[in-house]
């Protein structure tokens, strides 16, 4: 009984530690400042953009820091973009992909998995508006969303989750 209680406490501590790891950081309202002010591969939440076409003109980027649980405002959909600016000329113009594995958990605890591939080219143009972007919609009846973001060159992997209010 004491052992199971200890295990439960450890599990709670681990989940809490993971839960506070992700957050929203600096805000950017121009592509120039987003690209120039953060590093290649940085992830941003585009606030109020609920679909891809919104994310093409809205510039309300909030840096997503860390991995784990993220507190996001209530929206009908969620869009994320990535910094694809680099001064490493060996990367510029190459065809690359982000692989996003999404898991939606519905209120009845059923789960649905989706995957998205986002093709992009790293650029040395700080003004570039063609940022890699992915959106999550069709969230009716969904209580939790989690996604794992990987680059196809194995550069990095991040896991983000958020709850729908």
């Amino acid at each position: 009984m004491r052992k199971s209680a200890s295990l439960a406490l450890v599990a709670l501590m681990v989940s809490t530690a993971q839960g506070i790891a992700a957050g929203l950081g600096d805000q950017f309202t121009t592509y120039r400042d987003l690209h120039g002010g953060t590093s290649y591969g940085s992830l941003f939440f585009n606030a109020t953009a609920v679909r891809y076409s919104d994310s093409q003109w809205k510039k309300r980027f909030q840096l997503v820091t860390g991995s784990g649980d993220l507190q996001l405002p209530s929206q009908q959909g969620y869009c994320f973009v990535l910094n694809h600016y680099t001064d490493d000329l060996s990367l510029v113009g190459k065809s690359k992909k982000y692989l996003i594995a999404i898991q939606k958990t519905f209120v009845d605890r059923t789960k649905k998995k989706e995957s998205i591939e986002v093709a992009f080219s790293p650029t040395d143009d700080v003004y570039s508006s063609s940022l890699p972007c992915f959106c999550m919609s069709a969230l009716f009846g969904v209580s939790d969303v989690s996604f794992t973001l990987r680059s196809n060159d194995g550069g990095f992997e991040r896991r983000i989750s958020f709850q729908l209010k």
């Binding site: 121009t30 809205k58 309300r60 143009d125 003004y127």
Partner: protein, 128 residues
């Protein structure tokens, strides 16, 4: 100094600056933020600049193309200064930033217009 400021003000055509400010407010009222829709606003600015040329040709009887070019540039420079944030993603060479370039253009435009007499509306010119 007052004369210089008058000169500066008169070379920004009020007929179109008012329209630009009205459209800017309309954007804001509809949830479009200060850095969004730069190409749409740039298109509107160009359209207003063409209207400006027509107004100066029709009502101010300005026939000099050089003066029309100066007035056109003046309006565009005014737009870049009044709406700098919106044009922050306009590609500029090297490390130049619109926040620096736009005020410098305004300073040079102000200096240039000191050497050009102010446009006068045709019916006002008759009264004089």
């Amino acid at each position: 100094m007052d004369k210089r400021l008058d000169n500066l003000r008169l070379y920004f055509p009020a007929e179109v600056t008012g329209s630009y400010l009205a459209i800017q407010s309309l954007f804001k009222a509809n949830g479009i933020r200060a850095t969004e829709e730069p190409w749409l606003m740039a298109g509107i600015a160009l359209a207003l600049a063409v209207v400006d040329i027509f107004i100066y040709w029709k009502f101010y009887k300005i026939t000099s193309w050089l003066l029309h070019v100066v007035l056109f540039c003046g309006f565009i420079i005014w737009v870049l200064n009044i709406d700098t944030a919106r044009y922050a993603d306009v590609r500029l060479p090297g490390t130049l930033r619109i926040e620096i370039v736009a005020p410098i253009l305004l300073i040079f435009y102000s200096l240039l217009t000191l050497f050009i007499s102010e446009p006068v509306r045709a019916k006002d010119a008759q009264k004089r």
